[in-house]
């Protein structure tokens, strides 16, 4: 008997819409899945054990079979057993999970950094070469990619189930996560932290390309300006260089080579200069005054977008000498700043 086409179509639709396992497309995905399935096994074991005991006791000691209940207070041996065994199992999972967590949230030193800015309701990815993408992310396969996430408004959360990584993008604070894609293809990006009206539309796709394809993509979609170049332009248009000129009598400290060093602050503390510090120092300078300077820098809170801050941070990271700052200062035409700065990160 031929199958009714309606049923056949229904069956086909059923099968295509019945996902069960997410794709495994990053180096961390199999590690995550291993721990996940061990936890599933422990859970099945625990549940089956409890259910089996309940069923066995129900059958064995139901009133018809066992009319007289025996008075038992408890058993220290059993108590210790079912305290220790779960405790040991949970501790193993804890250590395993902690190792995995530290692996996912501590990027390797050679990771390529991509900034991701979340805003209601889209993801904006900014590659070091200046490529911008909305609700899309192109990454090369086999290369560790670090995402530096920040939100321009509310909490968002950047989730790529196929990579098994997720991290919140929150306002005022850089968060990082990294992954190394192992399979080319396109995968879902979800915003998983509720962020208002169009939360469920804040989705996108990650496209994993081979390194060659990625190079071609990066070359074809660049705007011609890297993040650091954009930053340089901002640096002069906002007249940061008026004080941070690197001149011995300058009102602000020289920024050349400051990234990655330990900086002595005016309040006596010292701090490691990373992206987050640079960002904070621009937004609330009075709390991050370098030792030996007076707190005269105005706040730039509300005057620079997160994208602009990223550009500035990237520019400051590439500053190794103050030569170019002084050049742009004496040179009244800021368009000259477009030429690439030394040591700039190429995509």
């Amino acid at each position: 008997m031929p199958i009714s086409p309606v049923i056949w179509q229904f069956w086909q639709k059923w099968l295509t819409n019945f996902g069960l396992l997410p794709a495994e497309a990053s180096t961390v995905a199999p590690q995550m899945d291993a721990l996940f399935w061990v936890l599933v096994l422990i859970s099945i074991f625990g549940t089956v054990l409890v259910v089996a005991l309940v069923i066995y006791f129900s059958a064995r000691y139901q009133k018809d079979n066992h009319p007289v209940a025996e008075d038992i207070e408890g058993s220290t041996v059993l108590e210790v057993t079912w305290t220790l065994i779960p405790l040991i199992l949970f501790m193993i999972c804890f250590v395993w999970g902690a190792l995995l967590y530290f692996r996912i949230f501590n990027p390797p030193a050679n990771a390529m950094n991509i900034y991701v800015v979340g805003k209601q309701w889209m993801w904006k990815a900014e590659h070091p070469g200046g490529q911008h993408e909305i609700n899309a992310l192109h990454v090369p396969m086999g290369v560790p990619v670090q995402l530096t996430l920040i939100s321009q408004d509310v909490f968002h959360s950047f989730s790529v189930p196929a990579f098994r990584v997720k991290r919140e993008a929150i306002p005022g604070h850089y968060n990082t996560v990294w992954f190394e894609a192992t399979k080319t293809g396109t995968y879902d990006i979800f915003c998983t932290q509720y962020c208002g009206t169009a939360h469920s539309a804040m989705i996108g796709t990650v496209t994993v390309l081979t390194p060659e394809e990625y190079k071609a993509w990066a070359a074809s979609s660049t705007s011609g300006m890297s993040l650091a170049q954009n930053g340089e332009r901002l640096f002069s248009s906002m007249q940061c260089n008026a004080c941070h000129s690197g001149a011995p009598d300058a009102r602000g400290p020289s920024l050349a080579g400051v990234y990655g060093t330990k900086l002595q602050l005016a309040n006596g503390g010292d701090v490691y200069v990373d992206e987050a510090f640079l960002r904070q120092a621009i937004l609330s300078p009075s709390q991050h005054v370098t030792a030996g300077y007076s707190p005269i820098m105005p706040t730039y809170q509300g005057q620079i977008s997160e994208d602009g801050l990223i550009d500035l941070v990237e520019y400051i990271k590439t500053l190794h000498t103050d030569d170019r700052n002084q050049q742009t200062l004496t040179n009244s035409t800021p368009t000259n700043a477009v030429t690439p700065a030394a040591g700039m990160v190429k995509p």
């Binding site: 625990g46 000691y61 008075d71 989730s159 990584v165």
Partner: protein, 554 residues
Amino acid sequence: MSATIISLPDQSTARLPKVNYLNKEHGLLSWLLTGDHKRIAMLYLISTTFFFVIGGAFAAFIRMELLTPAPDLMTSDTYNKVFTAHGLIMVFLFLVPAVPAIFGNFLIPMMIGAKDLAFPKVNLLSWYLYMVAGCLMLGTIIFGGVDTGWTFTTPLSTHYVNTNVISAGLGAFVAGFSSIFTGLNFIVTIHRMRAPGLTWFRLPLFVWAHYAASIQMILGTPVVAIAIVLVALERTIGIGVFDPAKGGDPILFQHLFWFYSHPAVYIMILPPMGIISEVMSTFSRKRVFGYTAVAFSSVAIAVFGFFVWAHHMFIMGISNYSALVFSLLTMLVAVPSAIKIFNWTFTMYKGSITFETPMLYAFGFIGLFTIGGLTGVFLGVMGTDIHLTETYFIVAHFHFVMVGGALMGYLAAIHFWWPKMTGRMYPESISKLAAVIAFVGFNLTFLPQFMLGYMGMPRRYHAYPPEFQVLNVLSTAGATVLGIGYMLPMIYLVWSLKYGKIAGDNPWQATGLEWQTQSPPLTENFTEIPIVDHDAYDYEWLAHKTHREVTSVG
């Protein structure tokens, strides 16, 4: 000698007592101005059921919308308001108050041989605060709703939504004070008003569980009250505590909110755990296996429960090392729950078990809470939390704990103590059917959500990719079955008020002091204050007592 045979009393001869707390006074005012803990419990029963129905209706809308991948039943804003309303009502107006305010209120004085709670008027005030909170929440929903999610996440709640955040927050704030007063009342009552001879280790485990939950209520709730007030101040006058542009920190809100809202989970689950202890013992005709372990595990949960809140924030950008500490503490809080599960199970060992409806719900609790607890470990483990948090996995997990655990416990309690509260029995066979329907429906609803979460479907999504559809359809189908499972008890319990069999004093032959008085009880609970000379769950004592009564009558 240590063996006891207990046969259920003949109910055909039972009569409703002429005077009891229900008919002692008449008129609406006698209810609205009552100080009687049992009447206040009944007020709570009616009002929490009302809000449960509303919260359930919102759940139905959510499941209907998720039947198809496309956002076709309502707009995104409406959907967001619907799941927010579901969460707010179910958490603040049902799960937190229901078991303590109905069963704790009704039973704690009776279980400890007291005439009432320590502060009857404060108890009534709790109910009025609850009603004010309920009205604020209803008003919030009727006048446009609120779409922050029940978690009030800043800065969304402070700067970005234009809905009724203040009134919803005020509702949660007032509901919080209702539960602070209830907790305070319980603690004082349990300390000061126990019958002569009723030492701490003779208390029923139900009382221990409520004591532990009460401590959490009075220590945790003020913190969420502060957090909500700060949200309101930030929204109205912009004080900037949570605003990074003013030097504030939105993560601080997460700390303050979860400092209460994680213990709140234990406020919701500890009292039902107490119920399960009573039910398992009664229908196994045996004392609870390892009484001390179960009692102390309640206290351990209450204490450890305060030090795990940041496990809600593992991916938010807290320090990796603080995540390490909170994950470790989370593992530790899982252990007392495991201890309880095994103790309840072994309570059946060498018992003489019967399978009345409360026992079936208790079995449901044990099975579902085991799954709920173990899947909590997936989320407490830092590595897997990264992938599973904020997805349907976490939705399924907390529904297993809150609905599979707390609500099953609630249903066990309502059937178990219904004879005591109303003097009448519920119909046995249809209630067993309802218990089975609820169990099957529950699993069909929430097991597929674990798989959805593992595949990565985010929570609070109005629309979703098509590959998630089949599992969502299964979940919606299950929710329909579950809905029937909840509607049946509402119908037959109301029916039984008039047509149920007369219960008699102690239809289950349970040992608690509440069963050693008439059903429904007198306003004063006991004709004379009982003197306790035996442990909790001492069925031998009960057998001797029954024996003495029978011989003295004969």
